[in-house]
């Protein structure tokens, strides 16, 4: 009996060790959480800081969900901020005529954008990151065009973030099922398996009989759907208004979360489940540094460095892959 439980313990320990090896970010997360708690005991473990961590985690997670699906397929989707910005302004335009039903316009916009990106990417064969980047800039132009040059506040959607459960932010309550759906699609459905197959070897997937073009378009559409649904929450979460100026640096945080989680951007591995850990680690690190004595400029510098370093670490197994 004793040896059995020892064996089980050994097995569990090995399993834990294996998963840590697979996801070294867990270690980083634990180390930085402990380090910050020791360094700033009176500031890190406060209610204010933890709720900031949760709220920032929600922001990053909602932006990163769709792109991490696309990244697992080996492409790139940078339109998330564009969908959020344009969606917010279209919502402002439509609310007076359509009433609260106008909120549906954001998911619709997301799906249409994703589908459009997919079709252009697949048919015209343009690298997805540059296509989505151009589209992002086009959307930001359209946003300031439609807004008439002023940031607009849309009222009437406070119900989205109205408190449901005491002490738990409602945004988080809505985000969890979204994450669950994304993880379910990628881990337990045929679509997810096919997308991983396309990500690890597109030619092989084609030869294996997968309709690569169709599934690529589908992946971008799903990504757009998740970004659109996320933007509904995001919109209220970030104050019921959207900025008009596009800051390309805000685009980077979700990417850091994706890469830090261990999704190789060349595709075939990772996915939304990994992004959860990446986002959490990034946010804890960011908040920890934020409450320390560093100036905001240094924070931005460190964010960039973090992206570079995590990409380098994530790419360590790619010795034989051709990258462009």
């Amino acid at each position: 009996m004793k040896s059995f439980s020892n064996g089980a313990k050994n097995g569990r320990a090995r399993y834990l060790l294996g998963s840590v090896k697979k996801q070294p970010v867990v270690l980083i997360l634990i180390v930085i959480s402990v380090a910050f708690s020791i360094c700033f005991p009176d500031r890190f473990l406060t209610y204010l800081n933890i709720s900031s961590i949760v709220s920032q985690f929600v922001t990053i997670m909602l932006f990163a969900l769709g792109p991490s699906i696309v990244a697992a397929m080996g492409s790139m989707d940078l339109t998330y901020i564009g969908i959020w910005m344009l969606g917010g302004i279209v919502l402002w335009r439509l609310t007076p005529t359509l009433g609260p039903a106008a909120i549906l316009v954001i998911p619709v916009l997301g799906v249409v954008t994703g589908w459009l990106v997919g079709v252009i990417q697949v048919k015209a064969k343009i690298p997805s990151f540059i296509l989505t980047l151009s589209l992002l800039v086009a959307y930001s132009g359209l946003t300031s065009l439609l807004s008439g040059g002023y940031p607009r506040i849309v009222r009437g959607y406070e119900f989205i973030t109205a408190p449901l459960i005491p002490y738990v932010p409602t945004e988080l309550v809505w985000t969890v099922p979204l994450i669950g759906a994304a993880v379910f699609i990628m881990r337990s459905t045929k679509v997810g398996t096919y997308l991983y197959a396309i990500g690890s070897n597109e030619e092989g997937a084609q030869l294996a009989g997968i309709d690569v073009q169709r599934y690529k378009i589908l992946a971008f559409t799903i990504s757009g759907l998740f970004t659109g649904l996320g933007s509904v929450i995001q919109f209220q979460h970030l104050g019921g208004s959207v900025p008009l100026a596009l800051n390309l640096n805000t685009m980077v945080s979700p990417l850091v979360a994706i890469v830090l989680g261990g999704t190789l951007l060349t595709g075939g591995s990772g996915g939304p489940d990994r992004t959860i850990l990446g986002a959490l680690t990034y946010v804890v690190l960011y908040r920890g540094l934020y409450i320390s004595f560093l100036s905001p400029e240094v924070l931005q510098l460190l964010t960039g460095l973090l992206l570079v370093v995590s990409v380098v670490i994530a790419s360590r197994e790619l010795r034989s892959v051709i990258v462009t």
């Binding site: 800039v137 030619e203 960039g304």
Partner: protein, 317 residues
């Protein structure tokens, strides 16, 4: 060998569209606003085009090699701010320092790409965020003005009715074109862009050439930044905001395909003329920056579609 006109047109769709569009754009804006090509209008256009062309040449090398360099704008900004910040303490030595710092950043880009196998757009995106952080840290977000006359004369001395920055740009453009078309180095870059595996099998040291090209891109971005600062005489962290899309648009509008191996600096000049004149023309018509960016982004997407030869490529991520 004779080539029939329709075939020639089909093979050179990108360049034909760019030239026709450039002439059309100039004609339309001239018709709407007769001051567009007046002496003052020409000088404004030359000012807007020159530093832009230098930066675009660097980006062209990277794109025709099949990669992408996101950090051009950030490096331009860094070089410009370095000049403004340190010209009083180290004098004109600031010029080589700024350019070399940018070349060094380009080298790091190349190193990340070549040694660590990081996809180039992601590596350069990361570096550009780091560089922006450095710029912000050094400049503290303030506006910095240069009063040093010797430094300013780098760009604003007039020869034969045109500012010196124009001659810098033309000189660098000629050198870049020469390097791309007439040297073994340039031809090897085309080969790498066309097919890196085949190029490696032909005995080309792909890694070394990629490293070189990213360094050149950083170097030219730094040079563009120095000339930018000499031309404008001041600037803050806002330098070059949302310039990446016009830059990218001008490279693809010239006919350099994103898949690599096609195009080159000699074509980029047409794209730069097209894009800067569209921007300038829209500005003279009081069309806002939002619509300009929207137009440029659509041009960028459209021209990428036109220039890509879809019979040649199988997999695009």
């Amino acid at each position: 060998m004779t080539v029939s006109i329709p075939e020639w047109l089909r093979k050179n769709t990108g360049i034909v569209i760019a030239v026709v569009a450039a002439i059309a754009v100039i004609g339309i804006f001239q018709a709407i606003n007769p001051f567009f090509l007046s002496h003052q209008g020409r000088i404004t256009l030359v000012y807007a085009m020159s530093y832009f062309l230098i930066a675009a040449c660097g980006l062209t090398f990277v794109i025709m090699m099949g990669s992408f360099d996101f950090s051009v704008v950030s490096l331009l900004k860094l070089a410009a701010l370095l000049c403004a910040l340190y010209i009083d303490s180290i004098g004109l030595w600031v010029i080589p320092v700024a350019v070399l710092v940018c070349a060094g950043c380009g080298f790091i880009n190349g190193l990340l790409f070549v040694k660590f196998k990081v996809p180039s757009f992601l590596a350069t995106l990361g570096i550009s965020v780091v560089v922006d952080g450095i710029s912000l840290y050094l400049s503290r977000g303030f506006l910095h003005v240069i009063t040093n006359r010797a430094f300013r004369s780098l760009s604003v001395t007039f020869f034969a009715g045109l500012p010196s920055v124009f001659y810098w740009a033309v000189g660098i453009w000629i050198i870049c074109t020469f390097v791309a078309l007439c040297t073994p180095f340039g031809r090897r870059i085309y080969a790498i862009g066309g097919n890196p595996t085949a190029a490696a099998l032909c005995g080309i040291n792909v890694a070394k050439h990629r490293l070189c090209v990213f360094t050149i891109s950083g170097f030219l971005a730094g040079l563009a930044g120095v000339l930018y600062m000499a031309q404008f005489g001041g600037g803050s962290i806002e330098i070059g905001a949302d310039m990446i899309i016009p830059l990218f648009a001008s490279v693809v509008a010239g006919g350099t395909a994103l898949t690599g191996g096609i195009g080159g600096p000699h074509r980029t000049v047409i794209g730069v003329i097209l894009i800067t004149w569209i921007q300038a023309g829209m500005s003279t018509l009081a069309i806002g920056r939002d619509i300009q960016l929207l137009t440029l982004a659509l041009i960028a997407i459209g021209m990428s579609i036109v220039t890509t030869d879809r019979t040649m490529v199988s997999i695009i991520k």
